[in-house]
């Protein structure tokens, strides 16, 4: 059987890995290539790189970082941030990405998912969504979590799957950065709505949070950033612990 996956996420701005809390207060963490190498050595199953650069220079630095990582680290790489067109898919795939994650680009142009899936295959298209509760509903937020789009998150996930997304990254704004555990209620609702793999994001603070996450069988992977970056949780230890708890893990 396939293993559950542990995925560190690297937010890259101007060639550096950074981390904020609840999408705010961005801090510099480290060099992306060094950090990627560390994650590869400690058993990460996959890496996600988000380009959170605003400038053209930053974008150039990002593709340079991606190329350097992809030429040294041979596990699946997903790239997101600033993906608005099929040409953007092309740009990062040529630099070594295996999968491309779309978020705001798909909100602005929902056809992007289908266009990219037809060209590169469903397995290449990851739909990433930032979800927050509003009046008891799960809503899609845009602009790094600042803007309520009014879109129902469950409907959006179903639509994404139908259009050709091969995987979902579901990030809970409500639990992000709080380190109180994943948003299990929301993840269960997502898992009940779609068949494609679900990567849970937002809220991991300790290894027990992952054990609890994988008790929810609809979830395929757990994604986190700061707890891995700051070595609060070391992936090798986490995976050993999860295997002891009966979760299938690649060790």
């Amino acid at each position: 059987m396939i293993s559950k996956r542990i995925i560190p996420c690297l937010d890259v701005r101007d060639g550096r890995v950074v981390k904020g809390k609840n999408f705010e207060g961005i801090q510099d963490v480290s060099d992306p290539v060094e950090l990627a190498r560390y994650y590869n050595e400690t058993g990460a199953d996959e890496l996600v790189f988000y380009d959170i650069t605003a400038s053209v220079e930053g974008r150039g630095l990002f593709t340079d970082v991606l190329r350097r990582v992809a030429s040294q680290i041979f596990i699946p790489l997903t790239v997101g941030g600033g993906i608005n067109t099929v040409e953007d898919f092309d740009r990062v795939l040529k630099c070594g990405a295996d999968k491309v994650s779309v978020n705001s680009g798909a909100i602005r142009n929902p056809d992007l998912i289908g266009q990219a899936a037809r060209k590169y295959g469903n397995q290449c298209v990851v739909l990433s969504m930032d979800v927050k509760r509003v009046d008891g509903m799960f809503r899609i937020f845009a602009k790094g979590g600042r803007e309520d789009t009014g879109i129902d998150a469950i409907e959006w996930a179903k639509r994404g799957e139908a259009s050709g997304a091969g995987e979902l990254v579901v990030n809970s704004i409500d639990t992000d950065g709080v380190k109180g555990g994943f948003d299990l209620e929301m993840l269960d609702a997502m898992a009940a709505a779609v068949q494609i793999p679900i990567i849970a994001s937002g809220g991991a603070g300790k290894r027990e949070d992952f054990a609890e996450l994988f008790c929810h069988s609809g979830v395929d992977a757990g994604l986190a950033a700061s707890i891995f970056h700051y070595k609060e949780v070391v992936i090798t230890d986490l995976k050993r612990y999860l295997r002891e708890q009966g979760v299938e893990m690649r060790l």
Binding site: M1, I2, S3, R5, N40, D45, A70, S71, Q72, F74, I75, P76, L93, K94, C95, G96, D98, G121, N122, Q123, G166, E167, Q195, I196, P197, D220, R250
Partner: protein
């Protein structure tokens, strides 16, 4: 030199990077002369079977690859590049492959039990455990229990004589095949971390 066949299918960045990382001389090429001069051939591939075969035929590379393989040159097909080594595929109709390994390519879904059909996601995507069922040079540095990375919805079947390793996904999924100098992996060694690098290294030593 390892010739990585360029026929306009898929992204070769990681494969070439991993070969170079191992210190191997690799060249992406669709040139028959260069392929003829190479010590080994890798046939990559991502996408649909029929498209891949059409592109191989259009470029005449189907005959180049088949000819080289029949002359005894080590050939490794990866993912869709492994699937085209077989006789036929049932991906969107029935299509003829290169016929270098007896067997056929069929949808995973059709062979799953009703319970697994509901429980297992298709594509079979992620890290799965290898079970080695035959000793072969390609897997000389690998062990049962190693994890490799798969992304596919179709798999090779009716090829018991050439299966070297399988991974369990409701049914035994053909993971690696070997028939003399013709080899293939359904998984992506170039995405399978250290385990994958060891398999590429083993391939680079075959017949050398």
């Amino acid at each position: 030199m390892i010739a990585v066949i360029d026929y306009g299918v898929g992204n070769l960045f990681s494969l070439v990077s991993s070969l170079r990382y191992l210190g191997l001389d690799a060249e992406v090429t669709g040139d028959a002369e260069k392929i003829g001069a190479a010590d080994r051939i890798i046939l990559p591939g991502v996408g649909a079977f029929a498209d891949a075969m059409a592109k191989l035929r259009q470029t005449g590379l189907d005959e180049v690859v088949t000819g080289q393989a029949e002359a005894g040159k080590p050939l490794l097909g990866i993912c869709l590049g492994m699937q085209v080594l077989f006789d036929t595929s049932l991906e969107y109709g029935e299509h003829r492959g290169l016929g270098l390994i007896p067997g056929r390519v069929a949808p995973i879904l059709d062979d799953l039990s009703p319970a697994d059909r509901a429980a297992l996601k298709i594509p079979h995507m992620g890290w799965n455990r290898l079970e080695i069922v035959r000793d072969c040079p390609l897997l000389r540095y690998s062990r049962t229990g190693d994890y490799v990375y798969y992304v596919h919805s179709y798999y090779a079947r009716d090829c018991a004589d050439s299966v070297a390793a399988v991974s369990e996904y409701g049914i035994p999924i053909t993971g690696a095949v070997v028939r003399g100098n013709v080899m293939g992996t359904q998984f992506h060694p170039e995405k399978s971390g250290e385990t994958g690098l060891r398999i590429l290294k083993a391939f680079s030593e075959i017949g050398g």
